[in-house]
């Protein structure tokens, strides 16, 4: 079938001589380019990583695996990773399921504002979240000091613990579950609930026996995603775990690499594959469980009528906004206040308040200055490149469905599905030696970070673009084809303008994620190629929380500004592209 369609296309090109020369070959050039990019960004690094484990230096050997398995630190870190992975997932699922049920099925007011606030932690970098909570609860907390309830200086921050890590992972990724469950609830036809009510079941029974079981596919899917994110998270266990010597796999990798440099590469390669395997097990388990529970809801109908809470409504609303206070307002307030104090442990007052931390990081500190520059350029470059690649790539995946377009899709998903540490180590291995043939050296430069960003975040632009393509009537392109436009011409004049809004929204997500990214850059940076995430991390490790807080406050402000600005784009976007739009 595909062959005959191709044949029709070719012959129509033949009718219009101009397009023979440009249209047809350029399509193949572009296809080749797209495939090459995907291979370089996704397949090569993964192959290189696997090679390092099973055949270091070109000869088959399991020495690295043996060494890794016999090291007790490996087992401790694996155990810790599993503890925080499951703990964080459980908390996020609990949180991320209860909240959407409450706001989707009841008549509480102010939904969109609540969703915006509730989803914001997802858009804030984990290390910033960690820093904010640390500043909120620590003995030096300006907020607690203002209230006069700060613990004495020198006492231990309660968040430096496994429980602290689990709590923050739950807060960070709860919104992820929230988004998926909310989308699921929106698709729940109201008749399914009403049939239960008509059968005499109370709302509570209907929730327990009908709504929740029907939401299990969403919940399981979200759990897998959150588990992978928790296991791969670096920022939170780095800020909360390292001081308590509670190491998880990503922080163990970081410490080894920071301590021993490239000589530890074989060992960390094994560790990163271990994380990858744990993540894969999570994904596969989800796949198996959800295949057994395929409750696909086929009918379309109006969403469920909200349940009137009556006099409890105000109470529920109050609780909702208290949650927002706890997970968003207070930590960010703590962060902001810390950025205003002149030094560690000094109480905040009208006398002591200062902006010197901001001026220091913006103008005086060389590494911070270059970090602002590096992160801006890196995130913009990653976003622009991803959008440019996502449009033709999304086109192949959505409209030219064949086996290889599915493979392409999976390949692009892989570096994002796997924890960032895995990709970072793979990039290190690939570029430690200069690139053969052209003798280009990008190790220890900003380029290796750019490479890793491109590989990792490409899918953030690709996903909305593919769904954008699915919503566009394909005949629009076919009309242009009939009019004689070659492939590149169609891409430029028809396809790109149509999917531009979604692709740009994807680019925006990439920018926001990459701007204060830490996991990848913490492993790849060198002097001169610091990123904002790295600088925040270094300041905090060196005890300069106020500087770290000042930079973090600025990144949070930028994030919030972009979220608000994106509202202008929202009209042109299908639902669900911007996670914070309800």
């Amino acid at each position: 079938m595909a062959g005959s369609i191709g044949g029709v296309r070719n012959s129509s090109d033949l009718v219009i001589p101009a397009s023979i020369k440009r249209g047809f070959p350029s399509e193949w050039v572009l296809t080749g380019l797209v495939v090459a990019i995907v291979v370089i960004l996704s397949i090569l690094p993964m192959l290189r990583l696997v090679q390092e484990i099973i055949a270091p230096g070109g000869r088959l050997s399991i020495a690295a695996v043996e060494a890794g398995l016999s090291n007790p630190a490996t087992w401790t870190a694996t155990w810790h990773s599993l503890v925080v992975g499951f703990g964080g997932t459980a908390l996020a699922v609990l949180f991320g399921t209860a909240v959407p049920i409450l706001i989707s099925l009841t008549d509480v007011r102010g939904r969109s504002a609540f969703v915006l606030c509730f989803v914001t932690p997802l858009m804030i970098a984990p290390q910033v979240t960690a820093l904010a909570w640390l500043q909120l609860f620590g003995p030096a907390s300006p907020l607690l000091k203002l209230l006069g309830i700060a613990p004495p200086l020198g006492s231990r921050n309660p968040l430096y613990s496994a429980q602290g890590i689990i709590l923050l992972l739950g807060v960070q990724y709860g919104p992820l579950v929230f988004l998926m469950v909310r989308a699921g609830l929106r698709k729940l036809p109201r008749e399914l609930v009403e049939a239960g009510l008509a059968g005499g079941a109370s709302r509570w029974t209907v929730l327990r026996t009908i709504v929740l079981p029907l939401m299990t596919p969403s919940i399981i899917g979200a759990s897998a995603l959150v588990f992978v994110s928790c296991v791969g998270n670096f920022g939170i266990p780095a800020f909360l775990g390292i001081p308590a010597n509670y190491l998880v796999l990503p922080t163990l990798i970081y410490q080894r690499l920071a301590g021993a440099g490239p000589s530890a590469l074989a060992e960390v390669a094994f560790l990163s594959v271990l994380i990858g395997v744990i993540a894969m097990v999570g994904i596969v388990a989800q796949d198996i469980i959800s295949r057994r529970r395929d409750y696909r809801i086929a009918t379309t109908s109006l969403p469920v009528e909200p349940f009137e809470l009556g006099r409890y409504r105000v109470l529920v609303e109050a609780i909702m906004w208290l949650i927002i206070c706890a997970i968003l307002v207070l930590p960010m307030l703590g962060l902001f206040l810390t950025s205003l104090v002149p030094g560690y442990g000094i109480p905040l007052s009208f006398k002591t308040v200062t902006l010197s931390n901001y001026s220091f990081v913006l103008f005086d500190h060389a590494a911070a200055k270059s970090a602002f520059f590096n992160s801006s350029v890196l995130s913009v470059a990653a976003a622009v490149f991803a959008v440019l690649v996502a449009v033709p790539l999304g086109y192949f995946i959505a409209w030219r469905t064949s086996w290889w377009s599915k493979v392409l899709n999976l390949t692009v998903e892989l570096p994002y599905a796997l924890p960032g540490v895995v990709l970072a180590i793979a990039a290190l291995l690939m570029f430690l030696k200069p690139i053969p043939l052209i003798d280009l050296r990008i190790y220890n430069t900003v380029w290796i970070i750019l490479y890793a960003y491109l590989a990792r975040f490409m899918v953030l632009a690709l996903r909305p673009t593919v769904s954008g393509f699915h919503q566009i009537d394909r005949s629009l392109e076919e009309a242009a084809q009939v009019a004689g436009a070659g492939f590149v011409m169609r891409l430029r004049t028809i396809i790109f303008p149509m999917v531009a809004p979604v692709a740009v929204a994807g680019g925006l997500l990439i920018f926001m994620t990459a701007f204060s990214e830490l996991t990848v850059s913490a492993l790849l940076w060198a002097s001169g190629s610091e990123t904002i995430g790295v600088v925040i991390f270094s300041f905090e490790q060196g005890g300069d929380s106020s500087y770290a807080a000042a930079i973090s406050t600025m990144t949070v402000a930028l994030t919030l500004l972009l979220m608000l600005a994106s509202n202008f784009l929202a009209r042109h976007l299908p639902n669900g592209v911007l996670p914070w739009r309800d």
């Binding site: 036809p189 239960g196 009510l197 059968g199 109370s202 299990t216 696909r296």
Partner: protein
């Protein structure tokens, strides 16, 4: 068993009045069909009876008990009404038996009793042996029968159907119609049945309520609805009635009066209180028109279209003097009329549509 009283019910969604001042009395054990064009408020009415929507005005009484007033709305789970949805609304995560037994489980009926009643309900809809299947593995007709069994298992006194057959093909529809009729005869349950298929409504219902833009246009047995429509909307909506302008010449006598229509005097059926008036409307059904020979006395018409329908043809035509009026009639084989020519038709009789009175 329980009767249903819908008493001057109105429903507003924001500024939009979906239902205004609807009153319907359904007797105990009656089969009422609700008929009307899309968007006229049928589903809204049903959802208010079930308790999913509140009434803005008026009352709903089921079995003598007031269920809905603007102030108080008994929740659906306390009403004991059964409901069958157009899209079946079977729970995909439960087996057929679990779907059917749900309300019994909720009511904490013992396991053995539950199994017995589920089996009974399934046999009632000819689905014995299907209990362990998943709804996803059933055909459309089977799914709708499961939905019916699910609603019957708790023996509700009032069952509501919202276009239950709209998703099924024509053959299945006929078979299911028989099953519904059979079920009604056997159990004597009060039924409110929404449809926009007139044939279905006529075949099943004791009485039919025709709705139009949120109002009750007429409530009558099928035959009366067809023969004596209360207003123009019902006349044209039911079986594509032909509406013609007429002048009433004589007062009603033994249910008939003389009218002048398209220049001809005809004796038509009418209400007993009719008296001579101008600008009245006459409703004719296509069998009440007949083509006559060119020499006979008849209305000159132009034939616009002839559609052969097997054994007979549907002929669309307009009077030569009133090309804005559309008439149609059926001619049995041999079909002699052809499009584009002139012919003569005679109106044998009709129904004089009562004068519109201001709503009481």
């Amino acid at each position: 068993m329980a009767g249903l009283t819908i008493d001057r019910v109105s429903k507003r969604f924001g500024d939009y009045e979906a239902l205004s001042n609807v009153s319907i009395n359904v007797a105990d054990g009656e089969f009422l069909a609700v008929l009307g064009p899309s968007g006229c408020g049928k589903t809204t009415l049903l959802r208010m009876v079930a308790g999913f929507e509140k009434v803005t005005d008026g009352r709903i009484i089921i079995g003598g008990e007031t269920m809905s007033t603007p102030e108080r709305n008994l929740p659906p789970e306390k009403r004991r009404v059964g409901i069958v949805f157009q899209n079946y609304a079977l729970w995909p995560h439960m087996t057929v038996a679990e779907n059917v037994g749900y309300s019994l489980k909720v009511a904490k009926v013992s396991r053995a009793e539950r199994d017995r009643r589920v089996a009974e309900a399934l046999s009632l809809v000819n689905l014995t042996g299907y209990g362990d299947r998943r709804p996803a593995n059933l055909s459309g007709g089977q799914r709708q029968r499961v939905a019916l069994a699910r609603c019957l298992v708790s023996a509700p006194s009032l069952v509501l159907f919202d276009e239950p057959l709209a998703n099924l093909d024509v053959h299945l529809r006929a078979a299911m119609e028989d099953e519904f009729a059979d079920f009604h005869k056997r159990t004597g349950t009060t039924i409110v049945y929404i449809t926009h298929d007139q044939a279905e409504a006529m075949a099943l219902a004791d009485r039919i309520a025709v709705m139009d833009e949120g109002r009750l246009a007429q409530l009558a047995p099928p035959r009366e609805l067809y023969r004596e429509p209360a207003n123009e909307m019902v006349a044209s909506f039911i079986s594509q009635g032909i509406i013609l302008p007429a002048d009433v010449l004589t007062a009603a006598e033994a249910g008939h009066c003389r009218v002048r229509v398209l220049g001809h005097e005809v004796l038509v059926r009418c209400r007993p209180d009719e008296s001579p008036r101008a600008a009245a409307k006459l409703c004719c059904r296509s069998p009440e028109l007949e083509a006559v020979g060119p020499s006979e006395d008849g209305i000159p018409v132009a034939i616009k279209r002839v559609v052969y329908q097997g054994g007979r043809a549907r002929v669309e035509l307009s009077p030569v003097e009133r090309p804005d009026l559309n008439l149609h009639l059926e001619q049995a084989d041999p079909v002699t009329l052809v499009a584009g020519v002139e012919a003569r038709v005679r109106i044998r009789t009709g129904w004089l549509i009562p004068e519109a009175r201001n709503a009481p």
